[in-house]
Amino acid sequence: MNQIILEAKNISKSFGKTQALKNVDFYLNKAQIHGLLGENGAGKSSLMNILSGIYQPETGSIYIEGKKIKKLNPDLAARFGIGMVHQEFRLINNFSIKDNLTLSRSNIYKDNFEEAFEKYSDIFSLSAESKTLINELSVGEKQKIEIMKLIFNNNNIMLLDEPTAVLTPQETNQLKISLKKLSSEDNKTIVLITHKLKEIQEFTESIFVLKDGVMVAKDLKTQSVTKNDLITLMMGEIKISKVRKDNLKGNNKLEVKNIFFENNHSNVPTLENISLTVQSGEVLGIAGVSGNGQVELANIISGIEREYKGKVIVNGKNISNQGVRARKNLNLSYIPENRLGVGLAPGVSIIDNSAVKDYFKSRLGPHLSSNKMLDYLNLLIKQFSIKAPDPKAEVSTLSGGNMQKLLMGRELISNPEVIIAAQPTRGLDVSAVEALHELIIKQRDNGAAVMLVSEDLDELFKLSDRIIVLYEGQIVREFKIDEADIESVGLAMAGSIE
């Protein structure tokens, strides 16, 4: 009989209009490795943030070792031994490993640090010395320190948010061994938050699946479920597309030839020999788990990233060496993945943000006509039914859906020839998603060539005419939509090509 160490009952949480979690039940068995599976936006992070006390749920209660906790906050969670490894590390780069492990108020290895460090270095097969500075470590090593930090802080419940996203296959394998040792030898309770099926099957003993804020499966025994079961649970039944696919396709509007790209800043997969074409009136879906080169590809096509090898051709014109402005003049629109921060400038007004694409069209020499800008914004508001009461208010005061409508409206109102849309509907509610999908289809029917980057398979299947799967910077599969099925696309995304 398993001992339940932590239990969350009937948890609900919403942000504005979107409900992130709906009456979710979740529990952890002591000294087991659990998997929490779900797509992006399924509510995994919200749930973990509630367990570590950062968010307050609207309903529900949390029990730790059977005791009900009224209002969990980060300090309290830490005191009960709940610790989380975030995707961005919380390590102090200029400090030594030892400092990072011991400065915490709840450090339990004050006197026998060396002994403990040796023991866990062994478990994690870490070769660095304790006086090594964090910034001299590789990403994989840093992550080991992050997990060790939890151990040194006496956190017996360890929540790991996408820990393998930054790891090489070898490091991933090593992590698996270390975590198994931690749970079996050290009685640690571990949660692995991920959307990678392969890992969840290899790492865990028990699996929870979240879909659209609902816990669709609880405490599944890992041995007794198949990959296909998990895909169905995670992605849901694929709805039959209501979108007409009788669209007429025309000339090649966007051609990408033999793109090679190396990213020096991190060990995100580089792009290797990417070639693709998108025809007029066609939607090409780019499937893939985030971080497999999609953002880089979109940045290269839109002219933001200039250091690459290969060719980008729009309407037969080679634009490989041209900048953002020149590509915009060819009527190429880019809806970036990062809505607020890239597509829209936070802290700047709605009206200013509405003009980012075409502000030079509202200019008269050095003069920028505020009337023209306002007319333009009002047109956007009307045409794309954006709810924006005050044009001078900061853009971040808009809801996520309205922000995205503003961004997409701005990029689409000129009926662009080529549209690059990255994660256009992520984190939005159903009605906003519907409206944005209609926009994309309308552009397609107008003869635009659309490249849709998405992790949401429903979306890809609904809108695309063809789907290309990117994995570690390479095109691993290409499907025509009527030949594609969700399982094989999902498997290709997870890196297994049968």
């Binding site: 968010y55 390590l91 400090f95 990072n100 108020r105």
Partner: protein, 307 residues
Amino acid sequence: MFDIQLMGLLNATLQAGTLLFIAALGELITEKSGILNLGVEGMISVGAVSGFMVAVNTGNLFLSVLIGIFSAALFSSLHAFVTVILKQDQTVSGLILTILGLSLSALMGKKYVGKKLPVKIESLVDIDEPSNIYEVLISQNYIFYLAIFLMVATSFILKKTMFGRRLEAVGEDSRAADSMGLNVNKTQFIATCVGGGFSGLAGVYLTLSYVPYWTDNMTSGRGWIALALVIFGGWKPYRTAIGAVLFGFLEALVPRLQTYGFELSPYLVKITPYAITIIILVVLTIYKGGRTGAPNNIGIPFFRENR
């Protein structure tokens, strides 16, 4: 004769350097916690005038020093309140702290301009014209030895003690420090007040020994030099001390240049430390990829994430 002149120069260098160093060390502690306080000039001034006022009125040296330190620390808590608790812009707040400190101290000290001190901070050994380095070193003011002690202590505390490492952790990465259960706001508040206290000590030294009298604006830019010193020293106590000696040397050298028969303009000599500091900053930024030794989170207010 030449020896005595040289020793005089050394003596003046150490005296000028001590003042700059104490203020810079205080600012270093504040900045290590991630808070930039541009109000050093104002804090020195507040410490200087309050110490002087107490000395004139009571004749009690110990009390004067204590009040000088305390009043500057209290004054700096205004900056701490506005920037740490209320998360307002550190640049703006620090600058006004300087303007406020200078004008407040001028107002407070108005009746004390030209007053004679009944007491003065003593030297360890009284030697009128030291003739060798040993004599210079033992004939310094008590504050000089205190400054050396503070340098060693600060360096030790920052590098070797849990308290110091935690202070630095807050200034390096307040989010990570928060995840370690450290109280970011409290640490920054205390570090800001400690920095103020150090400036107060520098101020007391100014009015009770270095000059010693009170007049408006007598800090004459030393607070800003202290800020430059922290950068010069790469946020390290010992290197800051070397910088202080260099800046002190130039301050001491300037009035003596003519007697030595140099044609060099003393006014241009005075500029050199600032120019050197800028060059060092630029070179460090270029070659160390931005790692000038500055705490990572300096100037950035800390918000705990919450929804």
